[in-house]
Amino acid sequence: MSAFETIIYEKQSHKGYITLNRPRVLNVYNVRMRDELYEILSAVKDDPEVRVVILKGAGEKAFCAGADLKEFLTAPPPVQARRIRFQRDVWSLFLSLEKPVIADIHGYCLGSGIEMAMCCDLRLASADAQFGVPEMGLGIIPAAGGSQTIPRIIGRGHALEMLFSGRYVNAPEALKMKLVNRVVSRAELLPAVETLADKIAGYKPEAVRSAKQAVTRGLELPLAQGLALEARLGYSLRCNSTPVYKVAEQAGV
């Protein structure tokens, strides 16, 4: 694996940690980070040792404060940029991971940062986290899926308010509007994320994948088709041998 410049990747007891690592500029997202995320997500996707992915930001101040505006003025012509966008579609890659992805969010979580967090399955935030979608103020709209993921998670009214106003939402408000699953103190954040990740990593990976698939694909379907999807996934899990029961048997319980 090539040496990364903008991210850190670590693997430890079934957990894959991706850390956005440009702390001096609040971990803003640039072309290099896109390429490195693309590379690591492709690897993580196929690595059976990784059962849960954790995404976090380096430094004290931010998870990710958005896109690197310095690069905006040196961006390639739109036709070329659009082609690259879909050739290295890091956002769809994020959403296509079959394993759970947990965002560990502290400090600023803005623009591309909040969009990246929305590509995760679960979001845990520290009490100092601030969320915002400031694109309107720059004359653009979110382009990393935010206009689709945010309303699907917090509903149309809250999403449009965040998009139109560009205002920052603090952690308690984010919890209330279901932008995040939980809020804890800064010191407790990573331990809470890891406790949850370890718990999930301890379960049968096929069952965890099936649960994610049933929910995420099922929400795109009419209820009746979603129920059929669940039945198929559940049935195939039940038909396969279950190590959990073997362990219970061997333990004589």
Binding site: L122, R152, K178, N181, L196, V215, L227, C239, Y245
Partner: protein, 255 residues
């Protein structure tokens, strides 16, 4: 059909189904599944039933099915799970779940198939299937995210942890929490009030909302308009307007 695992009482337009295996946490076995399906069929055919209450006898609402019991020795077979949620979900009239105690696994799926959930403050909720290497298969992975959103649903499904009634209320899994002894009176009052409304209109509201959620907004609005104008043909609508003008309580006939 004489029931042994549930009870069914019908009185004043309200049907009350009570899961009745209190010694075993109201766990769903084959008999209970069959009896629940039978009771739902019977209610569906009874025009004089306008509201259903589903609750459990004893300290639990329902702890799931046999295969969801941890530490069970033998590997469950795929045929050991008996779907029941669909029978409850197929009821066209309002169904209120009085969650008198813990609702786990298939028990929670049963509660999710109801329209409204009010719970005792002692109740706990969770899908523990994942710890046994399974996923819920009676609608849980579909109805839970539709009710509380994808992220909160995934947290419950991935973690396998239970949540208490207070938290369940915060995330919208249940509508309200009541002290244990106040639960049934509260649900009864709610059912009584709904049972006095025009029954065809109640059925159409349920149809518009549940079907509409599966449609595009334009199609949903069309469905709503069609049902609304169909209601204009009912005698109940005429009675409702007359009663309002004459300042008296309407006498709805369901016609």
């Amino acid at each position: 059909m004489a029931y042994s695992t549930i009870t069914l009482q019908i009185q004043d337009r309200i049907a009350r189904i009570t899961l009745n295996r209190p010694q075993s946490g109201n766990i769903i076995n084959l008999s209970m599944a069959q009896e629940l399906i039978d009771a739902c069929t019977l209610i569906k055919q009874a025009d004089d039933v306008h509201v259903v209450i589903l609750t459990g006898n004893g300290k639990d609402f329902c702890l799931g099915n046999d295969s969801q019991q941890p530490l069970k020795k033998k590997k469950p077979s795929p045929t050991e799970v008996f779907p029941v949620a669909e029978a409850v979900a197929a009821l066209e009239i309002p169904v209120i779940c009085a969650v008198n105690g813990d609702a786990l696994g298939q028990g929670l799926e049963l509660a999710l198939a109801c329209d409204i959930r009010i719970a005792a403050d002692t109740a706990k909720f969770g899908f523990t299937d994942i710890s046994l290497g399974f996923i819920p298969t009676d609608g849980g992975t579909q109805r839970l995210p539709r009710l509380i959103g994808q992220a909160a649903a995934l947290e419950m499904l991935f973690s396998g942890e239970t949540i208490d009634a207070q938290r369940a209320c915060e995330i919208g899994l249940i509508s309200a929490v009541a002290a244990k002894e106040a639960l049934l009176p509260r649900v009864d009052a709610m059912a009584k009030s709904m049972a006095q409304k025009a029954p065809v209109a109640c059925r159409y509201i349920k149809e518009a909302v549940l079907q509409g959620l599966d449609l595009s907004l334009a199609q949903g609005l069309r469905l709503e308009a069609d049902l609304y104008f169909l209601l204009h043909t009912t005698a109940d609508r005429t009675e409702g307007i007359k009663a309002f003008q004459q300042k008296r309580h309407p006498e709805f006939k369901g016609k």
